[in-house]
């Protein structure tokens, strides 16, 4: 019996299917918000209010002809996109969605580090897929992916340590459940900087240099068609959901919130999705309101501003946790 529950949890809820649908839904929300800010309507005819648009895109891509360029490094070209997608979904499986994570109900100490590592591996696989396509645009784009995520991973880890320090644990499950006062109030500076770093890590405007359309055509996706392209798109979208989920878990109190009646799992999921959407809306606002920076500007912003800020933030947190918070809140 327990086995069936686990299988259900992995495959349907809150596992693969739920994550996939959530990803498609977030994609739709993003496109709608972008369109509304730009005075447009956005997807409209596929399903009610165009909500099935991402699904239609996905199905169409899956059923298209799959072309392998003559020059591509075949094995990597085939495997990398789907592997990247798998790693991202796997990383999300450790995030508590309905009050417990998919794989184990309570998580383990250090799973924060594990999921951040998984997302780094996925970024690396994206780089590999661009490189394996042996296309000049893809090569340059993947070089940019590599430079950017190597640079921004360090501050991202450091910012993620701020809530971990306040909570006194490296388990994402415990960090989320310990927040009687959300950490956004205790460490607002870290929240703001984490969002900005996340924006860079997810390659969204103003940091979307790897897929700068006006220079690099389709970026690292240039050569991909059909199912492989579908998985690359999905990886990007899951990355966005993952980043937003991380913000929710680390700063907004995770899935926890008031339970009014019935199953707590239902309410937890609801709070999780609502908080997630709030973060997605926020990041999409930032995306639409800025122009793209140049790669050297992106990098110097990292080494000159974000990285020192992350170290300062960590020092400030340690000081606060040691001397101030015990007196005030905890």
């Amino acid at each position: 019996m327990i086995d069936f529950t686990l299988i259900f949890r992995i495959l349907v809820f809150p596992g693969f299917t739920f994550i996939l649908l959530l990803t498609l839904f977030c994609d739709w929300v993003e496109r709608k918000i972008e369109a509304r800010i730009q005075n447009r309507v956005g997807p409209l005819v596929a399903g009610p209010a165009g909500i099935l648009q991402p699904l239609a895109d996905l199905i169409k891509l899956l059923t298209k002809e799959d072309i392998e360029p003559r020059d591509a490094k075949k094995t990597v070209f085939k495997i990398a996109p789907i592997l990247a997608f798998a790693f991202m979904v796997f990383a999300l499986c450790f995030v508590p969605i309905d009050g417990a994570s998919v794989l184990s109900t309570t998580g383990f100490n250090g799973d924060l580090i594990v999921i951040l590592t998984f997302s780094t591996i996925a970024s690396f696989l994206l780089f590999l897929s661009g490189w394996a396509s042996c296309n000049p645009y893809g090569t340059i784009s993947s070089a940019r992916v590599l430079t950017q995520f190597l640079g921004y991973d360090i501050p991202l880890f450091l910012f993620a340590l701020t809530p971990a320090f306040i909570a006194g644990t490296l388990s994402i499950f415990k960090i989320a459940s310990i927040q009687t006062i959300p950490f956004i109030i205790l460490a607002p500076w870290a929240f703001v900087l984490f969002i900005i770093t996340m924006q860079a890590e997810l390659e969204k405007d103003p940091f979307d240099v790897p897929d700068a359309e006006s220079e690099l055509v389709g970026g690292l996706e240039t050569e991909f068609t059909g199912a492989k392209l579908a998985f690359l798109h999905l990886t990007r979208d899951v990355q966005i959901v993952f980043g937003s989920a991380l913000v929710v878990e680390l700063f907004l109190g995770g899935p926890y919130g008031p339970v009014f009646f019935g199953l707590p799992a239902f309410w937890y999921t609801l709070w999780f999705v609502l908080k997630l959407l709030a973060v997605v809306v926020l990041t999409e606002y930032i995306t639409t309101l800025f122009a793209r920076l140049r790669i050297d500007q992106v990098l110097s912003a990292n080494w000159k501003i974000v990285l020192p800020a992350s170290i300062l933030s960590l020092m400030l947190t340690v000081a606060l946790v040691t001397w101030v918070y015990p007196l005030v809140v905890l």
Binding site: E34, N39, P136, E215, V217, A291, D296
Partner: protein, 524 residues
């Protein structure tokens, strides 16, 4: 301005009196007839006398036994044409690229289309024509029939050699999201830094100059209008204005004002288009959407005044085809007023928004002296502090009677070029407002004679992208003998090729779009 007092014609006359023939009042202020090699001396004299001397165009003519060359030069206050001739069987002439670097493209074009060999110009290969174009056939010569040219078979596709090392060649175009039009730029990058840009033009070369020789003057108005879908009214006016100069007709005052309204509406929609397109190139899609949203009412105005959204087809020899109804004037004015109200918001974005400044300031900086030397025109020149605007320098139609400011910035970078356009949008609104307020009564068209006498004329006008130049030679028949068009992008392109070197590959698109490039104009 002290420069405006230079009398370039008498200087040339005094220095080269015995060697050249000067015909006053022909093809601009004067035409200077030179014999072999002397055209360089005239150019030298002009350069010494006036530092603002720049090449506008080189027109190649098929004169039967000889090939004629017309060097159209612009000084700070005059327009001079130098004539030269070379025999058809040995068409060699000395280059002037070493004197005026801006002449490089013009010489290449004449070499490709007419077969004149410019001694000393290092470039080789086709400039506008296809790589498969047969050797020794030059389409602008009269004996070449457009339909009878047989192309060489395409070369077999060779195996590509993989690029090794730090230098990577990125091909921008012919199909590329940064270019709406097919044109190829091979950009060599070292890491992210551009080290070399090799352009390949001619993807949109449709042979309009040759085609216009086999159509009547009336048909040609519609043909040259289709050189460019953006600045179409300017092309139509350029042709019509030149023909009117040959005919020596004067259009009624109302037509002059209506032409100004049409040309300025054209400029408005073109500038809004570019300002938005620049947003797209730097990844600022919201800005693009906003500008294009506010461009749509202008398109509606063009439709209101002409009956068509894109091609206004309003210009005709002797005036305009349609009058503006008095009942439409309030609507035009309210629409423009609404646009004017939105301008402070956009100007604030373009001057203050941090990410725009980060991407546009100090990108593609062109100094004033380079702008003059390379023969820049329009907003690109004005952003470098080179105050050249045909509407002011040589007012045509009603521009002499309408007060407006000439926008000049001194920074010379992409940011300044976009801000010149931003300010010109407001000036255009002012001009249209003034023109509609002071619209003279009377006919809007006169019956111009159908038969164009033998003659030749040049006409310059300020298109949205800069100075547009037309030269027409008529031979007394129903069709023109030669139509030469020099478009603003053709003149501005060397600026991009010069300033892109040494900058990041990411700066290529904003730098490029700041020229407002139009390749259907460039290639014709």
């Amino acid at each position: 301005m002290s420069n405006s007092k230079i009398d370039i014609v008498s200087i040339v006359e005094s220095k080269l009196k015995d060697k050249v023939q000067i015909q006053l009042g022909q093809l601009g202020n004067a035409a200077v007839n030179t014999s072999n090699g002397l055209h360089r001396d005239v150019v030298k004299v002009m350069l010494e006398a006036d530092e603002k001397t720049a090449i506008v165009a080189i027109t190649g003519l098929d004169l039967g036994a000889n090939l004629g060359l017309l060097y159209h030069l612009r000084t700070s206050n005059a327009f001079i044409t130098i004539r030269a001739e070379v025999p058809k069987d040995n068409p060699k002439i000395q280059t002037i690229v070493d004197l005026i670097p801006g002449a490089a493209f013009s010489e290449l074009e004449v070499a490709d289309l007419l077969g004149v060999v410019f001694e000393g110009n290092p470039s080789s290969g086709h400039f506008l024509l296809s790589e498969q174009w047969p050797e020794g056939i030059f389409p602008l010569r009269k004996d070449v029939k457009a339909n009878e040219v047989k192309l060489n078979p395409p070369p077999p596709e060779g195996a590509r050699t993989p690029e090794i090392g730090r230098q990577v060649k990125i091909i921008i175009g012919p199909q590329h999201p940064a270019l709406l039009e097919p044109e190829k730029f091979a950009v060599t990058v070292d890491g992210e830094i551009v080290t070399k840009v090799e352009p390949r033009l001619g993807y949109v070369h449709r042979g309009i100059e040759k085609a216009s020789e086999s159509r009547t003057y009336l048909q040609d108005v519609y043909l040259v209008e289709r050189i460019c879908g953006i600045c179409n009214a300017c092309h139509a006016y350029g042709f019509v204005g030149t023909v009117e100069k040959i005919l020596k007709t004067d259009v009624p005052p109302r037509a002059k004002y209506l032409r100004v309204v049409t040309l300025e509406l054209n400029r408005l929609h073109s500038h809004l288009l570019t300002l938005g397109h620049a947003g797209l190139e730097i990844g600022y899609e919201t800005l693009f959407q906003y500008f294009w949203r506010d461009r749509e009412p202008i398109m509606d105005l063009i439709e209101l005044t002409s009956g068509n959204r894109v091609y206004s087809s309003l210009m005709t020899v002797g005036g305009v085809r349609r009058d503006i109804r008095d009942t439409d004037i309030p609507r035009i004015k309210t629409t423009l007023e609404e646009l004017r109200k939105k301008l402070p918001f956009y100007r604030q974005i373009y001057t203050n928004e941090a990410s725009i400044k980060a991407r546009m300031q100090n990108v593609g900086v062109l100094s004033r002296s380079d702008a003059i030397k390379l023969g820049m025109v329009g907003p690109v020149a004005r952003a470098s502090g080179y105050d050249i605007d045909v509407r002011k320098d040589e007012p045509y139609e009603a521009y002499g009677e309408i007060p407006f400011k000439e926008i000049v910035y001194t920074e010379g970078d992409t940011w300044a070029r976009m801000n010149v356009r931003m300010d010109e949008v407001e000036e255009s609104i002012n001009i249209i407002d003034y023109a509609l307020d002071h619209l003279p009564t009377g006919p809007f068209r006169i019956d111009a004679p159908r038969n164009v006498p033998i003659g030749e004329a040049v006409c310059r006008l300020e298109a949205p992208r800069g100075e547009l130049f037309y030269y027409i030679k008529s031979n007394g028949t129903a069709n023109p003998d030669r139509v030469k068009v020099r478009t603003p992008t053709f003149a501005n392109l060397p600026s991009f090729l010069k300033t892109a070197i040494g900058e990041s590959i990411a700066d290529v698109p904003p730098n490029f779009v700041s020229l407002d490039p139009c390749f259907s104009c460039t290639d014709r």
